[in-house]
Symmetry: C2
Subunit: 267 residues, 2 copies
Amino acid sequence: MNDPHVLPPGKLIRLSELSTRGTDYCDDRDRAEAQFFALRDELAEWQHRLYAEGRRKLLVVLQATDAGGKDGAIRHVFRGVNPQGVVVTSFKAPTKVELDHDFLWRVHNAAPGAGMLGVFNRSHYEDVLVVRVDRLAPEEVWQARYEQINQFEKLLHDTGTTLLKFFLHISHEEQRERFQARVKDPSKNWKFSHEDLVKRRQWDAYQEAYDDMLNHCNTPWAPWRVIPADHKWYRNYAICRALVETFREMNPQYPPALPELSEVEVD
Amino acid sequence: MNDPHVLPPGKLIRLSELSTRGTDYCDDRDRAEAQFFALRDELAEWQHRLYAEGRRKLLVVLQATDAGGKDGAIRHVFRGVNPQGVVVTSFKAPTKVELDHDFLWRVHNAAPGAGMLGVFNRSHYEDVLVVRVDRLAPEEVWQARYEQINQFEKLLHDTGTTLLKFFLHISHEEQRERFQARVKDPSKNWKFSHEDLVKRRQWDAYQEAYDDMLNHCNTPWAPWRVIPADHKWYRNYAICRALVETFREMNPQYPPALPELSEVEVD
């Protein structure tokens, strides 16, 4: 697998130096969209096999700037999979009960079981993002979390979960356009709130927090992928391709028949 | 809405008198399949609106004879919805912890939240089916459950959940053919076990238990639909149609913009 979006291990990166447009990799939208539809059908087939195999797990983690396209990516990439084998968990502001536990408690609870494809819309990474930017915890608390996250993800990896972490990377201008569209379009109003404007003013603080998250938690067992996401067609294509290539390597199989059942005549 | 599969309230029914083939309602497979694809697209649009509205809930309950097509129905009907707004719960044999609680405890926990479409693959009805046929509880225990279920479903209904209960009805011969296909087809072996053959020998006891379940729990707030399911194309079409017609009645709407946000210029 040769995915240009996987961050190279051990090399410091800065989001400001990475493309948000992705046309370095592919500038032919028609071709990418045609491939996307074929990849999406292949994804549905692989997911069915993962479920039938009933042994390993796949966990997709989506993080992004606001309006970065997490919801849209889930809607488009996972259209076609069998919802029986897919669990999407959207992590919102933690409840009182969740805050009474360590920050990984609710996340661990949502980890996919055998044969399942889990999707995290936001994740434990919020605990080094919004928590840091809004100073919801002291620095020594969120600083310790990078290593805690790495060890947690290692546990998942070592016990049969393949992790695919995507950061959807959009530009400041692209965010402006998407927010404005949410104001204008009645079918998108519900996605827009005052809080979005507050967070937009914290853009630089978030970019710094993203940089640290990407650099501190880019491990061999759970590397980050930074997806140029200004173009939705490119974003969907790149995520779907990474998923399908991961599945091709995992190569889940239908379990064979029990020998004593292979000759049964049902009456 | 005029759904021929809804059981008439207050009238005793027997499964043995109901068609498993469904061609009384539609014998034009090509037309039904074309309509099914259009209905499935409409279903995805409605589900998105339910999610955006974020207020009401829809719960689909699927029960069937073994090989009756629950998994296939979920895979085909719900292909296309956004897995972020859909939670499928497959109820297996209860765990030790679940058995330490009342039979509705784990079911209540899986009830869909605001804006969500929940799908139960098997359900609390197993507690008046396998529990009865295999004598896992005394008769007075499972007899009391019909009314307990009715009251539980009334609570869900009264607090914003629309319930759609489907019984997938296949013939004894159709089950034989499907089991035999699972023996022969390597991609289906994993769905077949010794237990299936044991349960097939209990066919008559299950039909009796189904009859009682359908008659005792066919309430105005949660009526049963019996879907003729020997033809998979008819089953998928009938389920999808009932879902879409229910959604048309519910008619969920995108929430309007907050007045103070409707003129915002994002900078």
